[in-house]
């Protein structure tokens, strides 16, 4: 189900796939965590990070599959992250019985790296101004055309195109700077 390739046969629409994965998996994961010594808020936080990692892996070709495969993939990552959280809690003094918790079928080294990268991506996004976020949201998430966006914010098509370019370059610069700082530390 998960394989590395530079060919991506599926063309998922972020809005639809994320919506489905969220709606189908969050209630399940809240029940799963509740049964395994966790709270609803812990479930929500871990779910958000797990869905994010799954989505990034889909976008960069580390996960390839249809929508139902993606839902299953999100569940595996959620289980992995919850197991990790339980182990972490155990290290800090809670005595937990992990014998009943199902072992997830995912590659842990790759996922650890992905969760680390997610944190850097979060911080890179936070460095962008609201206008940049609006422009990138309109292009990549809402899939608005150049013309629709230029009309809605009252500037020329060329200005919008340039702003998209500059906003993405800023995001890239912030990301690379954080990665370099992280590697130097």
């Amino acid at each position: 189900m998960t394989s590395k390739t530079d060919l991506n046969p599926v063309k998922p629409t972020a809005k639809e796939w994320l919506e489905t994965a969220y709606a189908e998996n969050l209630p399940w994961f809240e029940r799963y965590v509740a049964k395994n010594s966790g709270t609803s808020q812990e479930a929500k936080d871990i779910f958000q990070d797990s869905l994010s990692v799954a989505w990034i892996n889909l976008r960069n070709g580390k996960f390839v599959g249809i929508e139902s495969d993606f839902t299953a993939y999100v569940r595996q990552i959620c289980k992995y992250k919850w197991m990790d959280e339980l182990k972490r809690k155990g290290r800090f003094g809670h005595s937990l019985d992990l014998s009943g918790v199902e072992e997830p079928q995912v590659e842990s080294g790759e996922l650890e790296e992905a969760f680390g990268d997610l944190d850097v991506l979060h911080r890179s996004m936070s460095s962008l101004g609201d206008k940049c976020k609006t422009i990138l949201n309109s292009f990549y998430f809402l899939k608005q055309s150049l013309q629709e966006l230029s009309q809605s914010i009252g500037v020329t098509d060329q200005s919008v195109k340039t702003m998209k370019y500059r906003c993405m370059n800023r995001l890239r610069a912030a990301y690379l700077q954080l990665i370099n700082t992280h590697e130097e530390a």
Binding site: F141, T162, R166, M168
Partner: protein
């Protein structure tokens, strides 16, 4: 540590963006993939853009969920306490400043003041790259950032465009007095394309400072046919 170029060119970005967004004709995509096989830095750039695109999609998605359901991350109760205290202090400070300062003239300033929208930013302008970068910040309402870029440029060579937009950045940051000094420089150049705008914003600053007669005199200097000039003059009489 991997070495990346500081910035992608517009052409490089456009090509990678079309590939990552599945917006490339099939034959071009085949050629692009072939190039990736032999070009590791291109492969790396594609991987970065894929992650950044995913990050923007996720940011938008979770924001939409927060709007639907309220904040998604847990915040300890003590942090709510601090936030509430800060909000209360802010409300008291705003109330005190309102009680002390705002008069009729400042109401007029608020009614007529709007930030200058800035200049269009062209895609490939290598000769004015820094200026345009500052303009993107300005349009993002990141006025301090824009001002810093343009102030640096002024050291290399001053122009009426730079003076005017640094003045606007300052004014939008609430630094009316500093902005006024810069606008005075434009007012000495009646041939400048920013001359009329400089008069308009100077008049508004004078209004904000309660200098009613000076504001009227400045408005009377304006030669354009903007109906707001006459409208404001009528209100000041």
């Amino acid at each position: 540590m991997k070495k990346h170029k500081p910035e992608l060119s517009p052409e490089e970005f456009d090509e990678i963006d079309r590939y990552v967004s599945d917006d490339m004709p099939e034959q071009e995509a085949v050629d692009f993939r072939r190039e990736m096989e032999t070009n590791p830095s291109l492969r790396e750039e594609v991987a970065i853009q894929q992650k950044l695109m995913a990050a923007t999609e996720l940011d938008s998605f979770f924001k939409s969920k927060e709007i639907q359901q309220g904040s998604s991350r847990s915040i300890p109760l003590w942090k709510y306490g601090i936030a509430a205290s800060l909000a209360l202090i802010a409300v008291v400070l705003v109330w005190l400043s309102l009680g002390r300062g705002i008069g009729e003239d400042e109401d007029l300033f608020s009614a007529y003041y709007y930030p200058d929208p800035g200049l269009p930013v062209p895609m490939s302008s290598t000769d004015s790259y820094e200026f345009d970068d500052g303009m993107v910040s300005y349009k993002e309402e990141a006025y301090a950032e824009a001002e810093a870029v343009w102030t640096e440029l002024r050291r290399l060579g001053d122009t009426d465009t730079l003076v005017f937009y640094v003045a606007m950045a300052k004014l939008n940051r609430g630094q009316a007095a500093e902005s006024s000094v810069l606008l005075d420089q434009i007012r000495l150049q009646p041939e400048s394309e920013f001359y009329e705008k400089a008069l308009w914003y100077t008049a508004l600053i004078q209004l904000k400072e309660g200098k009613l007669e000076e504001a009227k005199a400045t408005l009377l200097e304006m030669r354009g046919d903007d109906p707001r000039t006459q409208e404001l003059l009528d209100k000041l009489r």
